[in-house]
């Protein structure tokens, strides 16, 4: 049994494809690319595919990882091209390769957060955001399996860097805990609404930029 990995992007209109639909899309893309996936045994066989960190609808990414098993080995050299020919607009495979590293090693995800203000950036926006995210405690309600619970987000925020700034939009990059616990970038915006309501953006968009392990090295 072999285990292969894909590095792919999900951008543009493809951000509206839900995780479930993305799984179906890949399943069909593999079939169209004549790359038969290995299926599970049993009563209702399904293809073996495993996504590192399922992406929320609306969030773009340039660093998605997915593991899969093929019936035939090894991985054909033109796997990327064959899949890209079969995938819809906005989903692009950058690399197909073999990897021994486990997804559980992923510790951080770097996300760019774009905040839009139709009437111009509020005064002292960057300074106030930094101050907010550096507080000891910023509680935000988070959905869990048992309902919602207050979740302190700041211990799970790493470095914060301003990437660009214009009249009506601020883009910053934040390093967020990827799993155990997962800090969704949407909670950063929710914290603004709760603690600094006058800084509430008219629109917020997120793009996953990179996955890091515990040593802050790129995870592939």
């Amino acid at each position: 049994m072999s285990r292969h990995r894909l590095l792919f992007t999900k951008t543009g209109r493809a951000v509206y494809i839900s995780h479930l639909d993305l799984m179906r899309t890949f399943q069909r893309a593999f079939a169209r690319a004549s790359l038969p996936l290995r299926h599970t045994e049993g009563f209702n066989p399904h293809p073996v595919m495993n996504f590192a960190l399922p992406l929320s609808v609306g969030t773009a990414s340039v660093c998605e990882l997915m593991d899969f098993d093929l019936l035939a080995e090894p991985l054909p050299e033109d796997t990327e091209k064959r899949l890209n020919d079969a995938l819809p607009e906005g989903v692009r495979v950058l690399k197909a390769y073999d990897s021994e590293r486990r997804f559980s090693e992923i510790k951080w995800v770097c996300v760019s957060v774009r905040l839009e203000y139709d009437k111009g950036l509020p005064r002292d926006l960057t300074a106030r955001l930094r101050a907010l995210y550096e507080r000891e405690e910023v509680l935000v309600p988070k959905r869990t399996k048992k309902g919602t619970a207050d979740f302190n987000i700041t211990p799970h925020i790493g470095a914060l860097t301003i990437l660009s700034q214009s009249d009506c939009a601020l883009i910053f990059e934040a390093r967020l805990s990827a799993q155990n616990p997962t800090l969704s970038p949407a909670l950063l915006v929710q914290a603004i609404e709760l603690y600094e309501p006058d800084l509430k953006p008219d629109f917020a968009a997120f793009t996953r930029l990179e996955l890091l392990d515990g040593a802050l090295e790129t995870f592939r």
């Binding site: 493809a14 494809i17 839900s18 479930l20 639909d21 179906r24 899309t25 399943q27 069909r28 893309a29 593999f30 079939a31 169209r32 004549s34 038969p36 299926h39 009563f43 209702n44 066989p45 293809p47 079969a86 819809p88």
Partner: protein
């Protein structure tokens, strides 16, 4: 200059993209030089609200261009409850709803589909209807339109010309007069328009276009699969079934061609399910060899085979094993009526023995869930017939107890009933629908008779069926009702969350029309029906013979046992014969 066609499906994307007819007609139009055909669906309510708030008109999916820019706006009418969605989509597109308010060309608003066999309720809104299958006539129409536009013809001039294309019905060219009792006195064509308009068919079904390269939705649609069309028409002659008559004569594809189409379509799409479509798949003459050929391709690729329309009287062990070769799908049969007497009335020609035998095969093969569909309110139905449904379900349960392979898993028998709707161009076109209260009484009767907890009983509410009965056999005067319902917010009424019975009843009252007149009245032998303007190729005399046979409880053998001379074979030219 390009001719732009907006192919509109008056329901959501998920429903419309599951429709094989839409895919076929989309491909045919786009294969024509100089034609660009796009898809348009009805937005869900929240989306529509945003669109109306921001002044975004209804647009086509491929280009994003507003529908009002298109040359031809074409609607598929598959079920009556979509009529108000057609009006709502026109309104959302900023196109006047009434044909008489659209004086210029473009746009030309056309409609086709099974509901067009009685086009009259929509006659006020649609410039012309396409009667029958669209494979050939659609191209003729688009070409005629492009010529007329380039020649600078007025809309009236074009419509007069279009009426000469076989299969095209231009409602504006017919005068309808009424008797004092509300029935139709006469339908008179003007300017040489044909009467009736005889439906068109794809005569050479083997060579009729089948799109192997289709759009693959990224989001999940209702039927997310590759579909093969085995044959059109049906040899059975069930008297309630409009499709069974409207799609005659029977035309089948060869198993070799179907297997090739399946391989190409599956390779292109990557779908994991292949559905074999027809009105009665187990009646396909080459089903065994076809399934074998398909399974050779599908099994190693984990593609499952589904056969949605199986009859309970010729379901075999071999067939069952084929269907479950990859994955087990649910098993559904439609005995339609509980007693043999009533099944004879409707000419279902399925015996209790057939059904129980089939269930035995299924249970022995490890299936543990069976769904049984019935109609309540069929002509001549008595309380004994209703109670017989419960008895039949109980017998199915006994068969499971006796023959089930593994009883630990339990059994699920689901009985569903809906309220019978008499349809145009069927032997039951003369029949009355049962009143809603009577339907509910029969539901309660049946509910009380089903004792076992292994049997689940579901029933459809009669309100939608009643409105559907009004529309399916309605006349032109219903246009005012449809317009009022749409103005009062009616749309997507096939969805429970959007259907409002009160809104319909208010509109009937406001327009001075009695819905009972259309739904609950048994019609006289010689009544001029609104749908006399169209012909499905089956003669009225045949339907009448079948209606009388039904009342006498006499069955008619299926077309393979003996041709009943329904008339549809005359639609085939060039030496072709029905069901060859």
């Amino acid at each position: 200059m390009h001719t732009r066609v907006a192919l509109c499906f008056p329901d959501t994307y998920e429903i419309g993209m599951s429709n094989i007819g839409l895919r076929i007609l989309y491909a045919i139009a786009n294969d024509m030089p100089g034609v660009w055909c796009e898809r348009v669906f009805a937005p869900w309510g929240d989306m529509e609200e945003e669109m109306r708030r921001d002044g975004i008109p209804l647009y086509a999916l491929e280009s994003g261009d507003p529908v009002f820019m298109f040359d031809i706006i074409a609607f598929s009418l598959g079920y009556e409850m979509a009529y108000t969605s057609v009006l709502n989509m026109l309104d959302l597109a900023g196109v006047p709803i009434r044909a008489s308010d659209r004086t210029a060309l473009p746009p030309l608003v056309v409609a086709g589909g099974t509901c067009a066999y009685n086009p009259e309720p929509m006659a006020d809104f649609i410039d012309l209807f396409i009667i029958g299958e669209g494979e050939e006539v659609n191209s003729e129409l688009i070409t005629a339109y492009a010529e007329a536009r380039d020649a600078g013809l007025t809309k009236e001039e074009f419509l007069r010309r279009a009426a000469k294309i076989p299969g095209i019905y231009v409602p504006g060219l017919y005068d309808v007069k009424y008797n004092e009792d509300g029935t139709i006195a006469s339908i008179e064509p003007r300017e040489g328009a044909p009467y009736p308009v005889v439906k068109r068919i794809a005569e050479d079904f083997e060579r009729a276009p089948y799109p192997v390269k289709t759009i693959i939705p990224t989001t999940e649609v209702v039927h997310d699969r590759t579909a093969l069309e085995l044959f059109r028409g049906c040899v059975r002659g069930c008297r309630f079934c409009q499709a069974g008559f409207a799609y005659r004569p029977v035309r089948a594809r060869s198993p070799e061609l179907l297997a090739e189409q399946a391989r190409e379509a599956l390779a292109f799409s990557g779908y994991e399910e292949l559905a074999l479509l027809s009105l009665s798949t187990s009646d396909y003459r080459h089903l065994g060899p076809l399934c074998d050929a398909l399974l050779d391709y599908c099994t190693p690729r984990k593609v499952s085979l589904s056969l949605p329309s199986l009859r309970a009287d010729n379901f075999s062990v071999e067939l069952m094993e084929k269907v479950q070769a990859v994955r087990k799908t649910g098993l559904t049969f439609a005995p339609e009526a509980g007693s043999q007497r009533l099944r004879d009335v409707i000419n279902k020609n399925v015996t209790e023995e057939d059904l129980l035998n089939t269930c035995r095969i299924a249970f022995e093969g490890g299936w543990s869930a069976v769904k049984l569909y019935f109609m309540l309110g069929l002509p001549t139905e008595t309380d004994e017939d209703v109670l017989a449904i419960a008895e039949l379900a109980e017998k199915v349960l006994q068969v499971w107890k006796k023959h089930a392979k593994n009883k630990n898993r339990g059994v699920r028998i689901t009985v569903s009933t809906s309220c019978f709707i008499p349809k145009p161009h069927t032997p039951f076109q003369w029949a009355a629908q049962v009143p809603r209260d009577e339907y509910r009484r029969r539901v309660e009767l049946l509910r009380g008779a089903i004792k076992s907890r292994a049997i689940t009983y579901n029933w459809h509410d009669p309100e939608t069926s009643y409105i559907e009965a009004v529309l399916s056999r309605g006349d032109r005067r219903l246009g005012a009702v449809l317009e009022r319902v749409q103005k009062n917010g009616g749309k997507l009424e096939a969805w429970e969350e959007y259907f409002s019975f009160d809104r319909w009843m208010e509109a009937f009252r406001a327009c001075g029309l009695d819905p009972d007149f259309y739904a609950l009245r048994e019609r006289s032998e010689d009544e001029v029906f609104p749908w006399n303007v169209t012909s499905v190729g089956v003669s009225r005399a045949f339907f009448r013979r079948e209606w009388e046979a039904a009342l006498g409880g006499a069955v008619t053998p299926d077309c393979r046992v003996q041709c009943t001379g329904c008339g549809a074979a005359a639609l085939l030219k060039g030496g072709r014969r029905c069901d060859e």
